[in-house]
């Protein structure tokens, strides 16, 4: 007698198709909306209104003024901190940083913490590229010592725009 093959037990498999459809849709959505996050930060600039600033001026503080000149292409042509020329090459910003930290040598860290530090005014040519202004702000506001950020000048303001 022939024995029936009883091995064909019923397979009860789930139907995966719809799940895979949805999963792929989700995947496509996330891939499309994906954007690498760039970390951003701020340099804060306090520009008190003309009336208020007159009262706050401290005569004992040494006024720092950074003049930035541009050529016709908008590149940096020259930079002067209180009439000390810094040049316009790659090392100009390092020179500026050293000059600023030299000038600040006298003020104590406690004064700096209290926000009593000196103030710098940036006076730039109209067509200078903004990137150079940020480089200058970076140079005067501090430097990195390993992972530690050493702060120099925290009060930065802009002069009136030159037309």
């Amino acid at each position: 007698m022939k024995i029936r093959n009883r091995g064909e037990s019923e397979k009860n498999e789930l139907n995966m198709t719809s799940m895979i459809d949805i999963v792929f849709l989700l995947l496509v959505f996330f891939v499309m909306t994906f954007k690498i996050v760039e970390l951003e930060g701020d340099f804060s600039i306090k520009m008190p209104l003309a009336g208020q600033s007159a009262a706050q001026v401290d005569v004992t503080e040494l006024p720092l003024k950074l003049r930035m000149r541009a050529d016709s292409q908008g590149n940096l042509a020259g930079m002067e901190l209180n009439d000390i020329a810094m040049g316009s090459d790659d090392v100009a910003f390092d020179k500026l940083r050293n000059q600023v930290s030299g000038l600040l040598g006298a003020s104590t860290p406690a004064e700096m913490e209290a926000g009593e530090g000196p103030e710098i005014e940036i006076d730039t040519d109209y067509n200078l590229r903004y990137e150079y202004v940020i480089d200058a702000i970076t140079a005067v506001s501090g430097y990195k010592d390993g992972e530690q950020v050493v702060k120099l000048i925290e009060k930065i303001k802009f002069a009136k725009p030159r037309s």
Binding site: E8, M16, M19, I20, V23, F24, L26, L27, F30, V31, T33, F34, K35, V37, E38, L39, E40, G41, D42, F43, S44, I45, K46, M47, P48, L49, M68, A70, G74, T124, D125, Y126, N127, L128, R129, Y130, E131, Y132, V133, I134, D135, I137, T138, S141, G142, Y143, K144, V149, F158, A159, K160, P161, R162, S163
Partner: protein, 145 residues
């Protein structure tokens, strides 16, 4: 006579590894997705600085101004020039005043393109000062090199 039932051969591959990988990918993208990217503007490439750190808490009452390379200013979907910017700023300030805050509480965040003229940024600050705004932040990209 008995007719033998033909068993249809279904070529079924093993789906398990594929589904595993797909779920892993979904988990990866879900963790990394950031919906708070609405601040960005395609016209703006920020300059770099090694000193900035992402703020621990976002600034209160921000007014975000995007400045394109040609000096156009984008504020909340509209574009302005330095001459017309006052209209946009006043509209933002009306919202801030409606919340019972003054102009001293508002922060103007300037996201300017790295190749734009520095004078454009100065003009914006001048216009904002005319509207009695005093707190400004220049947004830059963190350079970790």
């Amino acid at each position: 006579m008995r007719v033998k039932r033909k068993s249809v051969d279904i070529a079924e591959g093993d789906m398990t590894p594929m589904i595993d990988m797909t779920f892993q990918l979904i988990a990866f993208f879900m963790v990394l997705i950031n919906f708070a990217q609405t601040e960005a503007n395609d016209n703006v490439v920020l300059p770099n600085s090694r000193l900035v750190k992402p703020p621990e808490k976002p600034l209160e009452f921000p007014i975000i101004l995007h400045v394109g390379v040609d000096g156009r200013i984008f504020l909340g979907g509209d574009d302005y020039t330095p001459e017309t910017l006052k209209v946009g700023l006043d509209r933002e300030l009306a919202v801030i005043r409606a919340e019972g805050k003054s102009t001293d509480d508002a922060n103007v965040i300037i996201r300017a393109h790295k190749d734009t003229a520095a004078g454009n940024v100065q003009e914006i600050i001048r216009v904002a000062q005319d509207s009695k705004l005093t707190n400004f932040a220049l947004r830059v990209k963190e350079d970790r090199s």
